[in-house]
Amino acid sequence: MSVLKTEGATMRFGGVTAVDNLNIHIENNEIVAIIGPNGAGKTTAFNMITGVYKPTSGQVLYQKPNSGNAAMENITGKRPDLIAGLGIARTFQNIRLFKEQSVLDNVLIANHVRLKNGFFSAMLHWPFYYKSEREMRERSMVLLESVGLADHANELATSLPYGLQRRLEIARALATQPQLLLLDEPAAGMNPKETEDLTQFVAQIRDDFQLTVLLIEHHMQIVMDISDRIYVLDYGKTIAHGSPAEIQGNPDVITAYLGVEEE
Amino acid sequence: MKKTLTLVMALLLTLALVLTGCGGNANGGATPEPVTPTDSGTDPAPVETGDDDVIKVGIFEPLTGANAAGGQMELEGIKVAHSLVGEVLGKKIVLVEMDNKSDDVEAVTAAERLVNSEKVDIVVGSWGSSVCIAAGDTFMNAKVPAIGTSCTNPLVTLDNPYYFRVCYLDDFQGTLLANFAKQEGYKTAAVITDVSDTYAIGLKKYFVDAFGAENIVAEAQFNKGDQDFTAQITSVMAANPEVIFAPSGYAEAGLMMKQAADLGYNILFLGADTWETEVMFEVGGVATENCRFTTFFDADAAPTPESTQFLTAYEAMFGGKPKGAVTALGYDAYMVAIAAIEKAGTTDGEALQKALTELDVTGVTGRCVFDENGDAVKNQAIIKTVQDGGFKYISTVVVD
């Protein structure tokens, strides 16, 4: 069953076509990677899926969790917050944590999208509000525990070391209780040890949280280790698609990508 | 730098807390003042407390802000009067200047400060009505009489037995201008009003009432701070009025007449007392020679003993002639205040109030008797114009 599908999604900025006719599909519980040289349009693809950009043409289809065999929903150009509400969470290439807030608050806020009590019940501190607030805190602490950040819960998010900030960003995304997780270069700037940890971590959260993961990554190690399938983009065009083994052997990819970047 | 600043802020904080928080101490808090603080007890009554040998006259004027020019002129008049009469009931008179900043919020705190911190016995001022309206209740509650100088709006003295004024009101002035226009043979008029100025809309109403609404051929409005009036002028001129009545501030008046002239219109502008500042013809240039406006006093009018005394003292103190009629009003207001203290024989607020209601004095700007509202019943106004870069006296209109 496909969780996400793009049909001819195209994004143009002025005269530049950042993503051209993107057709990808992601099956449930898969880890799929998008690779490609810098400027290939990977992040733009993410932005189209999460609603930050509205595709110039084409569409994005999404299967809501627990929707059985119902038809996929067209989420093209929906607002990012609504898409997050549907169960698609993401991280950012250049870490975007809430800088002025604690690690715990960063995760807490991601629960907001699932909050059921309204503003007035929150202000009046009705019992229901206490209950949901307590639950939120518990859930967030469990999550921090699971990513190994529980000890840092009250520190300022930006005071964490780089690797942990990446993890926190993932934890924050997980707190929105997504079905599909989009990771934008999660290993950027990490050393080999951290990269290895991250690889395991991604595989593990996929299993623990029953997730489907779409990943952008330059680190071939990670990509080859954990991806079920890989799409290769170059200048906005999809030039190859297949299993890691297939991609590794694809001559187009080697010239376009692997040949250029030594990795 | 950061550290020094932190230090400065900490000091500021401490000072502020001393002022606000520790007010429970005996002496009302450390409020450094230009004048030695009076030795106030816990009783806030405005009866003479502290120094028995001085009488304090509070000056409530806009010394900064939009109306600073007017405030400064009146202050000159007050100072001249003070130089002539510096003593009453055998006590020295001290002037306490308080800037109301031409701002309504500041005006109220300034008034509070005058009556409660400085404990003045009587107040003189202000130029402009809105600050007086804002501060009026403060003076009334403290039972400190205030003598308004050039605040011409009816609301100033309304329901306030402690506010008096030596100037005439908008209704008198508006009516007088309408009559003047009719006497001069003008049949139709257009009105351009500053809607953001209470003084202007007041004048407009009385002018229109007296001139006859059917004779007003066109109306237009603008807001204080506007600089372009070409749209308004062009639109009212389309109705071919014989005269334009433009109650407004002096700067706007100057600009308006200049722009009318630039557009090639040769029409008489009528205005009121606020126009009498040099700025008006400086800004408007020769175009302002085509105007008439009312005012309270003119040095070139037939001299009276009072005006001679005033002009001589002014010459001695500041040199030359007063720049505007409001200087004379400042002078008169002070003189009225002193006359009231003399008549009451005390500085008790209630006695002073009573004395003021019964007062009948002749000042530089004419005879001054207060009606039941506390408004001076004036009987004369002066019509002036601009000529050769100066104001020129045209006539004195006496109404009975």
Binding site: Y53, F92 | A69, N223, Q227, A231, Y250, A251, V279, V283
Partner: protein, 295 residues
């Protein structure tokens, strides 16, 4: 009909003055992405400079104008160095508050230095004389202002597109960090941007003073706001847009009063309503380029 054309003439006169001042706004914004709230107050200071030079020190006007331009330019650079440069890397909101602070400070400072009493702006040459063409009265000023404006626009466009400084300015406006890496002297470029922006304010002030010869500390507030609005209508950052925006705003103000004299009391509100409409319908203005946030 003459009435209609008279109003058109009035609108063009006001509009070209708006446009003249709006150019300065738009230029600073285009390069630094900063709304300089103090622009109107730099304008005000330029008027005072002119007043002192011509009316107090009796310097001939053609020399005085140069002095005023230089003085205003220095003032602009001083403001940039003290109030904007130290917090260049701070959040944008701080820069905005800083420019509000400068505006507030200049107004209060002017009140202390020059008192609140309005002064008369000295008149220059024969600009104030009027011509009558087919029943429509036009001040010579109304003819000179667009000429001055066009010359300035031409100079400015040449500067920005043809010179090295201009290239540096464009680089800075595109990407601060990259420009720095490419060896552009950021400090000097920003300084010259402010210098030119302030000079434009001074030119605007001198022309404005011919039409509205009144100076007081708050004189820059309304022109500042309205010319900013004009710049936004045209698409802030775009010099041609500022010209069109200024003319449109001037015409709008005059023509609404002409069509509906009863609304003249609301005249100051027109500009704000226009601003809000433009921001709603076309936030980038008539000629502005679309800016996409980089994620």
């Amino acid at each position: 009909m003459a009435l209609f054309w008279q109003n058109v003439a009035n609108g063009l006169t006001v509009g070209s003055l708006y446009a003249l001042v709006a150019i300065g706004y738009t230029m600073v914004y285009g390069i630094l992405r900063l709304i300089n709230f103090a622009h109107g107050d730099i304008f005000m200071m330029a008027m005072y400079f002119a007043f002192f030079a011509i009316s107090i020190f009796y310097i001939p006007w053609y020399i005085a104008i140069i002095l005023v331009l230089v003085a205003t330019m220095l003032l602009g650079m001083l403001i940039e160095k003290t109030a904007y440069a130290p917090i260049r890397n701070a959040p944008r909101i701080s820069l905005l508050i800083s420019s509000i602070g400068v505006s507030y400070l200049l107004e209060n400072l002017a009140t202390v230095l020059f008192t609140g009493v309005p002064r008369q702006f000295p008149s220059i040459g024969s600009l104030q004389n009027s011509l009558v063409i087919g029943g429509v009265t036009i001040q010579q000023l109304a003819i000179y202002t667009p000429v001055v404006m066009l010359i300035l626009v031409a100079l400015l466009l040449t500067l920005i597109n043809k010179t090295k400084t201009g290239m540096a300015m464009r680089a800075v406006s595109k990407d601060f960090e990259t420009a720095k890496l490419m060896g552009v002297n950021i400090n000097r470029t920003i300084s010259s941007t402010f210098a030119i922006g302030s000079m434009l304010a001074a030119v605007g002030a001198i022309m404005w003073g011919q039409k509205y010869p009144q100076i007081q500390p708050y004189i820059g507030v309304m022109p500042g706001l309205k010319c900013f609005i004009a710049a936004v209508i045209g698409g802030i950052g775009n010099i041609k847009g500022a010209v069109v925006g200024g003319l449109l705003l001037g015409m709008l103000e005059i023509m609404i009063v002409y069509a509906q004299p009863g609304l003249s009391g609301y005249k100051d509100a027109f500009a704000f309503v226009a601003l809000i409409l433009v921001l709603l319908i076309r936030p980038t203005g008539l000629f502005g380029e679309k800016v996409t946030d980089k994620v």
